[in-house]
Subunit: 386 residues, 2 copies
């Protein structure tokens, strides 16, 4: 396989963009990424995009054509990938495989979702299509409910406390203060989380990632191109991708996401690294419990000790392993399809030393994206060294 | 890039399956393909699937997880691709790139759509999401209407007749009689087409592909595996993929699909072949006019002469170039996501000499898939010779 690097990155502000449409957000992120890479439009060989449910959100499928069109591209391949909340991570991997195959040299991978002004009923209904319609969504299960069951079981089996969950949210809000693209940039404390509205016991409002509009894009390049045009290419050292049962009820243990464990195994194997080599990681904290699972399933803490890992400050910037320096899905925001690509962007900024007040001096970074309640997971490992 | 071959193929009957769901159809096609390849489930490294709008049709996104799950797969990558009616063709290409990159050796690529029992209003609304919502669907344009405009212009510019359109339908119905998986297996004549209900002038009911349930799957393998397990691997010699404007009004000439021309250029270049090397082709005849455009845009006839090419019998089995030996979208049926993969299957059967009464003794075959009104196109060239 050919070596592939990230040579450009672009983000929109994450939040409520009631005056912008999905196309406008996508084009902004794409243009920023191409400018950041210092290339021109003519250098781009192919496009990839992750979006979950533009069909349900905005009555528009066939986004690979529409977004290429409105970005001024004709006559190149453009591919839309969907994997629920892991749409961005899977799109990123497809862009990587495209260049690794030798088919193309420069690929832009974007992610986008437009969610805030489509009606709350539609949002919940659309998001529920990431669960099994037959056995979960159709019977009334929503994602806060599914993750609440995971949290309850984790608390039962391992003694994880509601304050442990709250500490995830407090940390990620703290980190987001230093990220100008984040949706929520205000300090909160544990009591704020515990006293926020109950959504699905034990998850309160401040345990849940928000509804967000936003777009993200990276430029990927082959080694030949990367060395020519970029002083600080960020190399993709490992790529893992795995699926598990779409439904919780089919899993022996709902406190472990097997898709995450398998995707991590693949990425560690390919990169010849272990969890000890990772300096910072963006994990998929769609709910606070999900960050705790990720810390365990990626190998950073023993099963059951993820909550303690966060509560003790080991996941802070300056701690043993900086987790969600961007603010994570919780505080940076979670425009579904954009999230996986935005995680790769945070890894890029950290490895370039461009993360400003949230810099970690990392040499190796990881991005971890999850679809549904763990039906899909991707894990990517990045390094400054080829 | 590594060489990649088709080593197995499986189809469901195309038609109305009111007693079956999307999962059941997908699993049937996948199992048939794996059995046909003579491999076992454990040999499969990754899955790819094309489906257009399961979110709108059946309230289910995240099909990469769901279909892997219900096929008994865990812990492997599974990727869903969407490109409107070209979803299958783009999924096929992604499976090809995966093996070509060296990441995996054996990949199953499936396509599926479940359309017949979701309510006619919903079908038309869902299909219209393949056009620009802003400038086409939201203003009332539907696909018969868009292709009717193309047909009118082609008739105006080149003198193409309604009988030329009808001859496409007559030929494809004739071919489908010999395909046990086809939706419509009855002979029709030109008068039947001309006298069928007007849908969007000049397109009558029998100029339009139908609403169909169905699934298709192929097993792709690296050269190492293909040579070991398969006596008649069918090699992928060229892969082309391009986008164009999603809307008709942005094109200088609506009688040419530039995405098809560009995808064909890429596939011819990679395969070092020209249109003269192709013995049979499956083209995207979503409407009869679309087959005429394809014959021209793929280089088999001069612009404006595609209708004559068909009317003169040159596209018949036994003619200069056998077009849509399977019956095409018109008569075999058009379960959106399944179509692109089913086209590769017909190419496989023709090259293996397994197409029974519709055999063409082809040595080189092509598959051509279109999304929307030409916003996306894929072209693949296949050969018995590596």
């Amino acid at each position: 396989m050919k070596n592939v690097a990230i040579i450009g990155a672009g983000l929109t502000k994450f939040g409520s963009h009631w005056d912008r449409d999905l196309v406008s957000l996508s084009v902004e992120a794409g243009i920023k990424a191409v400018h950041d890479a210092g290339i021109s439009k003519e250098d781009v060989d192919a496009l990839y995009g992750g979006t979950m449910s533009a069909g349900l959100f905005i009555n528009q499928e066939h986004l690979a054509s529409k977004l290429a069109d409105f970005s001024g591209f004709r006559n190149i391949p453009s591919t839309r990938v969907e994997a629920a909340c892991a749409s961005g991570g899977v799109a990123f991997r497809q862009g990587y495989l495209d260049i690794a195959s030798g088919m193309n040299d420069v690929v832009v991978v974007g992610g986008v979702e437009k969610m805030t002004d489509v009606g709350l009923h539609s949002i919940t209904k659309a998001l529920a299509t990431a669960a099994s319609h037959t056995y979960e969504a159709n019977l009334g299960a929503t994602f806060p409910g599914l993750y609440a069951m995971i949290a309850k079981r984790h608390m039962h089996d391992y003694g994880t406390k509601e304050t442990d969950l709250a500490e995830v949210s407090v940390k990620n809000h703290e980190n987001a203060i230093h990220n100008k693209y984040a949706q929520f940039r205000r300090k909160i404390n544990v009591d704020d989380v515990l006293n926020s509205q109950m959504i699905a016991d034990p998850l309160k409002l401040l345990d849940c990632s928000p509804i967000t509009d936003g777009a993200s894009a990276v430029v990927l390049a082959s080694a030949d191109v990367a060395k020519k045009v970029c002083d600080t290419p960020i190399w993709i050292k490992g790529s893992g991708h795995a699926v598990d049962t779409i439904s919780l009820h089919d899993r022996k243990d709902i406190t472990t996401l097997n898709a995450t464990k398998e995707a991590a195994r693949q990425a560690y194997l390919q990169s010849k690294m272990t969890s000890n080599d990772i300096d910072c990681v963006e994990v998929h904290d769609c709910f606070t419990i999900a960050e705790i699972l990720a810390i365990e399933d990626l190998g950073f803490a023993k099963k059951g000790e993820g909550g303690k890992f966060v509560s003790e400050g080991q996941a802070n910037i300056g701690g043993k392993l900086a987790v969600n320096t961007s603010g994570g899905l919780k505080a940076k925001g979670h425009p579904i399809g954009a999230t996986g690509v935005a995680q790769a962007i945070e890894a890029t900024l950290q490895l370039r030393g461009d993360a400003k007040n949230r810099n970690t001096n990392a040499e190796v970074a990881m991005a971890h994206n999850v679809g549904g309640s763990g039906g899909t997971s991707t894990v990517h490992i990045f390094s400054r060294d080829r």
